[in-house]
Symmetry: C2
Subunit: 150 residues, 2 copies
DNA sequence: CTAATTCCTCTAGTAACTTCAGGTTCAAGA
DNA sequence: TCTTGAACCTGAAGTTACTAGAGGAATTAG
């Protein structure tokens, strides 16, 4: 008997992933191309839904698409070493920890800025003053670019 | 006597901001258009460098370009209320705190994943298993989209 | 059978830049 | 003064991970 199939809309509501995003994941090769109906509409199998859930969860954990791609490649090869998958997770963990450390510093600096507001007019406002001069900061690292985003 | 001027390269090395980024900030209206030489090259004044430093510092703090634009508009009007600038800083602080909270959860989950690795082959690897199934998580929130990025 | 819903492709837009191609100007040394 | 080579110019396209919209075709409920 033929396996049960699902429309893209069904997959969407089953996973909480938008229809457009499902098509997008297919377009960048994270999801395999499903069969189509005679009228050219996608019909998914249960395995596609599993794969999509994997992707969504990994994204939620902050893994980049590229990392997920590697993980999927590993998964396709059940005899592959587990170490590589573990390594990817470890790298992510490090990235997340770094972000937390950075954001914690930023929060502290913003707290100081907010606390220092006392003036009435902009001209007396410490917020503007502190923003205008990096040297007011504790951590005086003057890095090259500003890519230090959260 | 005419004020001292600086080439874009000079401004770049004085601030640590890439030349292209300086031009980009001008194109989106964060930096005013400087005078030009006869040969069409930009010549900046000290005030431009101050403005750029303000922008860079605010970006480092995680402020969106739009927020910086508002701050600059406030700054152009020295009689404006300080409260608005303070409010922008407060909003940023809240955003940063939210991000930290979210990332802390992610870090915990990744720690569990990494700690659970024991298999030798992918087929036995807990990393893949846990990634594949969201229900392994403590916080079982199954949100609609995956925009929960750092 | 028809109308409403869902689906299709393709293009463009988002943030905040970076990179590239192809050409021009400037400044310093010979 | 001339000549290089570094620095500069513009405009377009690339980056990440999607989202949104146009315009049209397929499916499905009644």
């Amino acid at each position: 008997m033929p396996e049960r199939t699902f429309s893209i809309g069904h997959v969407s509501s089953a996973t909480g992933c938008k229809v457009e995003t499902i098509r997008f994941y297919e377009s960048i090769g994270l999801l395999p191309e499903p069969e189509r109906t005679e009228g050219n509409q996608r019909r998914y199998l249960a395995k596609h839904i599993d794969r999509l859930r994997f992707i969504l969860h990994a994204r939620e954990l902050g893994l980049a698409v590229e990392a997920i791609r590697q993980l999927i490649a590993l998964g396709e090869n059940p005899a592959a070493s587990c170490e590589q998958a573990d390594e990817i997770a470890r790298q992510q963990l490090q990235l997340v920890r770094d972000k937390i450390a950075r954001l914690t510093q930023l929060a502290e600096e913003l707290e100081r800025i907010v606390a220092s507001c006392s003036g009435e007019r902009i001209a007396d406002c410490r917020v503007m003053e502190v923003l205008a001069d990096h040297s007011h900061c504790d951590h005086g690292d003057r890095r090259g670019n500003v890519r230090s985003r959260a």
